[in-house]
Amino acid sequence: MCLAIPGKIKSIDLQYNGLVRMAKVSFGGITKEASLEMLPDANVGDYVLVHVGVAISKLNEEEAQRTFKYLEEIGELGELEDVDEYLPNSEKKAS
């Protein structure tokens, strides 16, 4: 659960009278919503490290791709998938 996953910002959306800055972030094929409130200067096209729905750090494209590939290899991208159907048997393979 402590992992942070790199993704690319696709779009930015200001919500609640501009108080909440959310982004659509693409991780490989999967797009998820993430808060950009910890990275006020992050923009569309930037790569960010996202931890449990919050972008915590910017990183360059090369680093983002390298890390993403590593996480994919060790089977740690499971948490991006729909986790609500959680059952003990459907656990991430690497864990």
Partner: protein
């Protein structure tokens, strides 16, 4: 070197390993604090490749593993007796409580949901106005901004049926506690990279100076861990004790100030119980008085007696680095990831589960 071919850059990995071998002249013990690093060390066979002089000790680096038993019992109680929608991260569900785990509560009909992010829990609360929604907010400093932000979002959106059951643990006080423990002898530390992405490195300088230990802020990929180990060893051999940053491509000295701001807005530092270890001063976060309406501990009066740990589980000694998982008599026998007796067997970042899955230690146990 059976695992070497699996490295992204086997040449560099080999080079780090050679350098480690030529650097070491005497035995050293190094603790990696982050469970992701433990996972990497065990899964990639780094432990077996290191020279005999270097002993890696697995620290308490898994928030799931150190969440107090009593809080698990509280979460189970809220889900089963108070009818709340109880949300958390996946790993939390299987952690054994004194009676049952959240997963068992779910199987018996309680509304327990696994979420990717605490921010989703605020939406669930909005969509279920006649239900109370509680997010079981565990984590290290890395996760604190997200948990704090969920409270801020609920506040901004006027969501009144949302609260968090906070169980946060902080790394620097844990490092101090480990150094202070007479039984554990650790010469140097790999600090957790993602924790420092948020908090920066400032808190580690006084620890390194006072206790004269090298602390290297390190990433979690195999090459990061190898390089971090090498950096600690170089300092040890040169009798230095400094804070170094192996993970500078992500971690900045000052961390992420915006994240620190939201953490301090919502949380204040408090003494915290660590499962298997005990209370560590100023090592956790409590929800500030201003946000008491979002604090599940205050919102629901839950009084559950402290229950004892499973008598056969030695997780405290494992997490302080005094014993290795295979030295536990239950390891791989009565205690397995499918039926964990203690928390370190639950999460893949827990030391017992990491050994169980990857190290071939199962046969030896």
């Amino acid at each position: 070197m059976k695992y070497m071919s699996e490295y992204r850059d086997p040449v560099l990995a080999k080079q780090f390993l050679e350098e480690i071998k030529t650097t070491v002249t005497q035995p050293w013990s190094i603790m990696e604090v982050c469970g992701g690093q433990t996972h990497s060390l065990v899964k990639n066979g780094i432990i077996e490749m290191l020279p005999d002089e270097v002993t890696m000790i697995h620290g308490p680096g898994c928030p799931v593993c150190v969440t107090p038993l009593n809080l698990i019992d509280k979460a189970v109680y809220l889900a089963t007796e108070k009818g709340v929608i109880l949300c958390s991260f996946g790993d939390m569900l299987r952690v054994p409580g004194s009676q049952k785990s959240l997963l068992e509560a779910k199987a018996e009909g309680a509304d327990v949901r696994v979420l990717y992010s605490p921010l989703e829990a605020v939406k669930i609360a909005e969509d279920n106005p006649d239900k109370e929604v509680v997010f079981f907010a565990v984590g290290f400093e890395t996760t604190a901004p997200a948990n704090a932000l969920s409270v801020v979002h609920a506040h901004i959106r006027g969501v009144k049926n949302y609260s968090i059951l906070a169980s946060h643990v902080l790394v620097p006080p844990a490092i101090k506690a480990v150094i202070d423990d007479e039984e554990s002898k650790i010469d140097g530390f790999l600090a957790a990279g993602h924790v420092c992405t948020i908090m920066g490195n400032a808190e580690y300088h006084p620890i390194s100076e006072k206790f004269e230990v090298p602390i290297v802020v390190t990433g979690f990929e195999p090459l990061d861990v190898l390089q971090g180990i090498l950096m600690v060893l170089r300092q040890l051999e040169q009798k230095k004790a400094e804070v170094e940053n192996q993970y500078a491509r992500i971690v900045r000295e000052e961390g992420n100030p915006d994240a620190q701001k939201v953490i301090h807005e919502v949380f204040e530092v408090k003494n915290q119980m660590w499962r298997g270890i005990g209370e560590i001063p100023e090592s956790g976060y409590a929800v500030r008085e201003e946000f008491a309406a979002f604090d599940a501990a205050k919102k629901f009066s839950v009084n559950i007696a402290e229950a004892p740990e499973h008598p056969d589980c030695i997780s405290g000694q494992i997490m302080k680095g005094i014993k290795k998982p295979f030295e536990c008599a239950q390891f791989g026998k009565t205690c397995k990831p499918t039926n964990p007796l203690g928390a370190p067997m639950v999460s893949s970042e827990g030391a017992c589960a990491a050994y169980y899955h990857f190290s071939g230690m199962v046969e030896q146990a």
